[in-house]
């Protein structure tokens, strides 16, 4: 017990300057085992330490304290403590021990799920993500945890706020897979299909040596979303996709590929019977809702195609060409699409005619110019980043040894500036 009091004094004394904290970190590392062995007595110690000022010490104690299994009742008391720590802790200090912080946060997530109120975890977890990441481009292990909480609590909008950051730095590939998969689902929930496609695409085409379940599930959703958004799906993966994905993904998603083929025939009745016969498969994958959206999107795409060919068309004709039951139904569809900005048209209810208009966007407004300007800026930043990365790569010793080794197999005559590793 004496050593514990000693430790508390050290924590309280050494939380001031940067050097002190570094020193404290070493002490804490040494004391970590002792802390774990005495985890049951730590709740009293916790009260003597301030989460905001003595964050590092608090983190070590808290980690040791929560390391054991917990019951539901315990979880109820723990959640507020953890949430308070996450909200008040000092970002500089906890970043010294990211592993500890991540495991504390993961436990926090587990507890929140244990007491079945994921919503309570959303906001602290978001704070945790922000505190842990060094830049907005940094993908932490906490990202997927946060998105999972968002998904479970259906608070998609908060999830989107994190998804809008462009991430580049990755700690673990698994983080990225999960982040993109959950992110894709959140975007689907918000009907942001473009963004969802982008995220799912990242999962499917990510480099991998063996196929993984996340990629398979993501590919299924990718097929469905692609049908909803574009009305078509090409089964060929881009060249940069890993060979594992190229070879195996399709075999795992056969019903979905067939769905896409049926879709491309453009016959709504065929699609519906196909969905009916394979209902169970889609339901097992929890994709039935999306599949239903696919079916209804076919009407949309068919109507959209009509806008390319017709200036005016009666609701009756629309209903018969896109195989809708009645002109009334056609009217509802057209109305919905006009509201969503998917087509430009006016309905004349007197004679039941729909008049399709051209896209009224003239690309003359200030907003449009600003939008274009911001796009240009974005792309400039991106290309700068690309250049920087290229440069970084070109003097990476590992890369150079590899290139040098391969270069040697060719003639000595095709000399170029890449340094070669000559055998001695």
């Amino acid at each position: 017990m004496g050593s514990m009091e000693n430790l508390v004094t050290q924590i309280q004394g050494l939380s001031g300057s940067v050097e002190d904290i570094a020193h404290l970190h070493n002490i804490l590392k040494l004391a970590d085992e002792a802390l774990h062995s005495e985890s049951s007595m730590l709740s009293a110690v916790l009260d003597q330490v301030d989460p905001a000022r003595h964050s590092l010490g608090y983190l070590y104690i808290l980690e040791a304290f929560t390391s054991g299994p917990v019951s539901k009742e315990q979880a109820l008391t723990l959640v507020p403590i953890l949430a308070r720590f996450i909200n008040f802790c000092d970002a500089q200090q906890i970043r010294l021990a990211p592993d500890k912080f991540v495991s504390v946060c993961k436990r926090f997530k587990d507890h929140v799920l244990l007491i079945e109120s994921p919503l309570r975890g959303v906001s602290p977890m978001r704070t945790a993500v922000r505190k842990l990441q060094t830049t907005f481009e940094h993908l932490t292990t906490l990202h997927p945890e946060f998105l999972l909480l968002c998904l479970l609590s259906k608070s998609y909008k908060i999830g989107l706020s994190v998804l809008e950051d462009d991430i580049f730095d990755i700690d673990q590939p698994r983080d990225l897979f999960l982040y993109c998969y959950y992110g894709g689902m959140i975007c689907i929930g918000q009907k942001r299909f473009r963004k969802a496609l982008e995220l799912l695409h990242n999962v499917v085409t990510a480099p991998m040596n063996i196929i993984n379940a996340i990629a398979v599930e993501a590919y299924k959703k990718y097929i469905l979303v692609s049908l909803i958004h574009y009305g078509q799906f090409s089964t060929s993966l881009p060249k940069y996709a890993s060979s594992a994905a190229q070879r195996n993904l399709k075999n795992f998603c056969q019903p979905y590929i067939e769905l896409a083929t049926t879709y491309s025939s453009g016959k709504i009745a065929e699609l519906e019977t196909y969905v009916q016969t394979n209902r169970e498969k889609f339901d097992n994958d929890k994709n039935l809702g999306l599949v239903k959206q696919v079916v209804s999107s076919m009407y949309k795409h068919n109507i959209q195609r009509l806008t390319q060919t017709y200036l005016t068309l009666s609701l009756q004709d629309i209903a018969s060409t896109v195989q809708l039951g009645s002109p009334k139904e056609a009217e509802m569809h057209v109305l919905q699409m006009i509201q969503d900005g998917e087509i430009f048209a006016t309905i004349n209810q007197k004679d039941g005619m729909v008049r399709f208009l051209e896209d009224p966007e003239q690309y003359k407004t200030c907003e449009m110019i600003e939008h274009i300007d911001s796009s240009i800026r974005r792309i400039m930043t991106l290309s700068r980043k690309l250049n920087a990365m290229d440069e970084l790569m070109s003097y990476d010793p590992l890369y150079l040894t590899k290139v040098g080794r391969e270069r040697q197999r060719f003639d000595f005559d095709d000399f170029d500036t890449v340094p070669q590793k000559f055998p001695i």
Partner: protein
């Protein structure tokens, strides 16, 4: 007639054109068959017999085929035809076993004689005689319907050809057999072989080669090339090649392929103003008329001619497979050409010009617009077709933004992948340490 009316009545009823359109109600089998000789005559007659639903015509064709075969030596084909007739033409056209036997016996003897002759030539190594021997063998097999053997024998003469004349005759024989076998890749290769001979060819041979090449292209659905070849065919062809093709066919095949694949200027320069081809067209006035109608935009009468020709063309041994495709293409071309100069077109007027219903026309136009062959949109309410002029500026903006967005996304996912790969690499490097 007021000039304005002329536009409206475009292709519609024209009092000046009171000349009745010749309807090809019934194919005159006898007249048709007289255009050809030898095996193609038999083949064509049998084709007609197999494909027409008119019994009288079928029997007529079979009867003529029977007579023609009797003149030759092909007993296999003879038996087939007799079976097809099935006694429907009376005893005169029944099985003639005696004839078959004598022919077969004679064939057997001839074959032995040819073999011994060829062997003696081969031992003596007289090139010219060996060539002649193989050639005779080819003729013999051809006459008896063994096309594969005939082709082999003819091709074998190649090693013994000494002059380009020989080469050409070898090529012509090979082409003849290949056409009948339906091996049109051989036809193309032997045509080019014949054309490569150093000596100048005589006009008739050139014309024959053009026809053969045209047929080969037609069969492989390269209608534009087929049209070019038929159009290049010289008038010297006459009836010299009627063991394969009649000049009437050259006009029909060439004309239809040209209509389906040429644009307006090409049609004018290469077909209508083509003096050589005009001679051919004179033989088939319907085709000449319909080409002129098409060019002068009298679509209704053009399509009517086409409609009348159709049943007969379907009975043509070479064209029947392609009639539907060619007709579709011609019709599409007509529709596109009709709409091209206008900013707006009244669908009633257009339907009238094409002798079809407005609803049907709408469907056809819809398909063409979806295919991006016509840049226009249909006002289904007022039944007017409006030409659509793409706004270059807006389209450019749209494209730029879209490309930018795609680039943005691509680069980002590329950087991500690069980082992942780097991670994997680092992991492996760490493991090595």
């Amino acid at each position: 007639m007021e000039p304005e009316d002329e536009i409206y009545e475009n292709g519609g009823e024209q009092p000046a054109r009171s000349k009745p359109i010749i309807s090809g109600e019934q194919l005159d089998v006898e007249a048709y068959a007289s255009l050809y000789k030898d095996r193609t005559k038999v083949a064509r007659l049998l084709f007609i017999a197999d494909h027409c639903n008119n019994e009288a015509m079928q029997l007529e064709a079979l009867r003529m085929a029977y007579d023609e075969i009797k003149r030759g030596e092909n007993t296999l084909l003879f038996r087939e035809v007799v079976e097809k007739i099935g006694g429907r033409l009376g005893d005169k056209y029944g099985m003639d076993s005696a004839w078959c036997e004598t022919v077969d016996r004679r064939a057997e003897q001839k074959k032995e004689r040819l073999e011994s002759e060829l062997n003696s030539y081969r031992t003596n190594l007289i090139k010219e005689s060996i060539r002649m021997g193989y050639n005779d063998f080819g003729d013999f097999h051809y006459a008896h319907g063994a096309l594969g053997d005939a082709f082999k024998s003819y091709v074998r003469t190649r090693d013994y050809c000494t002059t380009s004349k020989h080469i050409i005759s070898m090529c012509m024989n090979a082409i003849l057999v290949s056409i009948e076998m339906g091996q049109f890749t051989h036809v193309t290769s032997y045509v080019s072989k014949a054309e490569q001979t150093p000596e100048a060819l005589d006009q008739i041979t050139i014309a024959k080669l053009r026809c053969a090449a045209g047929l080969a292209h037609l069969e492989t659905k390269k209608y534009k090339l087929a049209a070019r070849k038929f159009l290049e065919t010289g008038p010297e062809l006459g009836s010299h090649y009627n063991e394969v093709i009649a000049p009437q066919d050259v006009a029909t095949y060439g004309g239809l392929c040209a209509l389906a694949s040429f644009d307006r200027t090409e049609l004018k320069n290469k077909v209508i103003d083509n003096v050589n081809f005009r001679n051919f067209l004179e033989l088939v006035p319907e085709v000449r008329e319909l080409i002129n109608d098409f060019y002068s935009s009298h679509y209704a009468s053009c399509l009517e001619y086409l409609g009348n020709l159709k049943p007969n063309l379907l009975l043509d041994i070479h064209l029947h497979d392609h009639v539907e495709t060619l007709y579709d293409q011609i019709r599409h071309k007509a529709l596109i050409q009709y709409t091209h100069p206008f900013v707006s077109v009244d669908l009633h007027m257009m339907a009238n010009a094409f002798k079809t219903s407005v609803a049907g026309l709408e469907k056809e136009l819809e398909a063409l617009i979806t295919d991006n062959q016509i840049q226009a949109r249909i006002d289904s309410h007022n039944k007017i077709l409006y030409a659509r002029h793409a706004d270059q500026r807006n389209a450019t903006f749209q494209r730029v933004l879209q490309t930018g967005g795609e680039f943005d996304q691509d680069v980002r996912s590329m950087l991500l992948r690069a980082n992942l790969i780097k991670y994997d690499h680092n992991l492996r490097a760490l493991r090595k340490l």
